[in-house]
């Protein structure tokens, strides 16, 4: 029982970080109907950035977020403008899968040239600190990471709800045609929206780098998990992604405790397939009711 609750705590804390990564990905899907296979690579790139800022300049990875987030936003917007915007509309959905995969490979290649393929980890003074609460251990990094993720998710929510830019994005998500008619500049919304989605990778990368050793190829494992999260939550639904992110964290850590880690991945995928069987649009996916 103790181990189970310990697993549960861990699952929630880890899930929060997945939620942040997945929120960016699902946002990108919502705006431009692009499944961004490079999201994991952007997270790893951010982890490397945080690593450099920490080892070179002694900047704390949590503070580094202030630098990496705008940087990732620009890289994301530029990437969209360069590689996704030119795609022809009729098969953009399929081609964008390939383009973002190629982007992931490109990022991986650049990272392996710059940093070699050695596993890196960010070892801050508090990397191995943990708190003891009622007999349960809570790692400091995990707790800070979770709190930062929640804060950023809140910020993202605020941006989407309260700003003009956020309203333009939401209008585009709901109905691209009407949004365009209402004077929303679709090209700009897509570029900025992609940037916004990628910018969530910055903080996730800092946290990821603090939690796990990583190398340029780490994004493959990350992306398979992120895809499951966004599909389970319902493509395009940020709330769904957050809940699904926490769900995947809890399911895999509880399954690892109760059962065996070799089956914990599997149990999650089975849950995903079952959900899709009942609700092909995911837990919180919107039913698109266009003209039939």
């Amino acid at each position: 029982m103790h181990a189970l609750i310990q697993g549960l705590i861990l699952g929630v804390l880890t899930g929060g970080v997945y939620a942040l990564m997945a929120s960016g990905q699902t946002l990108i899907f919502g705006i431009m109907k692009v499944v961004n296979l490079a999201q994991g690579a952007f997270v790893i790139a951010s982890a490397y950035l945080a690593f450099t800022l920490f080892t070179r300049f002694g900047i704390d990875p949590f503070l580094a977020v202030l630098i990496t987030t705008p940087l990732m936003f620009c890289i994301g917007a530029a990437g969209q403008w360069l590689f996704l915007r030119p795609l022809r509309r009729e098969n953009a959905a399929e081609l964008s899968l390939l383009v973002t995969f190629a982007l992931a490979l490109l990022i991986e290649g650049i990272l392996s040239v710059t940093y070699s393929t050695t596993y890196r980890s960010i070892n801050t003074g508090y990397a191995n600190k943990s708190f003891e609460v009622a007999g349960y251990t809570v790692s400091a990094v995990r707790l800070y990471g979770f709190l930062l993720s929640i804060a950023l998710l809140g910020l993202l929510y605020g941006v989407l709800q309260k700003t003009r830019f956020g309203r333009a994005i939401r209008a585009t998500v709901q109905n691209p045609q009407s949004a365009a008619l209402l004077g929303v500049d679709a090209t700009r919304v897509q570029a900025y929206g992609f940037g916004l989605g990628i910018s969530t990778a910055a903080a996730s990368g800092s946290i990821f780098g603090l939690l796990y050793p990583f190398q340029s190829g780490s994004h493959y494992d990350l992306i398979s998990r992120l895809l499951s999260v966004v599909v389970l939550g319902g493509l395009g639904s940020i709330g769904g992604a957050v809940l699904a992110g926490i769900a995947i964290g809890v399911v895999s850590s509880v399954a690892a405790v109760l059962w065996s880690p070799t089956w914990s991945e599997m149990s999650f995928f089975v849950v995903l397939l079952l959900v899709l069987l009942v609700r092909p649009q995911g837990m919180f996916g919107r039913v698109e009711r266009g003209a039939v």
């Binding site: 009729e90 009711r289 003209a291 039939v292």
Partner: protein, 243 residues
Amino acid sequence: MTALLDVTGMTKRFGHLTAVDACSFSVAEGSITALIGPNGSGKTTVFNLITGYLPTDSGSVAFDGRSIAGADPGGLYRQGLSRTFQQARVFGDLTVQENLVVAAGGSWRSVFGRRMSRSDRIRAAELLEEFKLSHVADLFASELSWGQRKLLEFAAVLMSRPRLVLLDEPTAGVNPLLIQTMASHIRSYNATGVTFLIVEHDMSFVMTVCDQVIVLDRGKTICVGTPEAVQSDPRVLDAYLGD
């Protein structure tokens, strides 16, 4: 005249919105019936419910005396109930000729038959000739103009020799000359026994082509009658001009 299509108490809700509200009407065999109503009155939804593209919440639909509630669109098509779409849904990656052939229906075994059998080709050639599309037969449908696509979709649903054709705004976005062409095709096929149910906004088209009009407002049938009778009905005027 007997009713070929009978709709009784058909209802469809989307969340809190009741798009079709206990709607009832019938379409007489051999008629050209118009389904009109202001924007958002549920005309296209009614089409989707009849043709099985959407499941009904309650009510019944009978085609040729048999209930077809819950039937799938393909099955209805094979029974002789076919439709077109407002957006002229044609298959862009198929040629014009292939768009016709693919709509020919056919038995299970014909799936393994040749891509274009002799009989398919002859039938398609007739229709292409009739709809003056022969010169574009080998173009991809994606290369056609908007009006040509509307014609093609119309021609395609006739491939399977249907008994009832539902046309969703056949004249939307097409030029006046083509509207006349559409009207004459509808009339000539009606003369061969095909029944039409048409959603239309163009009132002069309705007046000249149709012999019965059903008026829908907020998902309800508010009036049924000849074009002349409907035109002078105050309820219709209210519906169009709003409260």
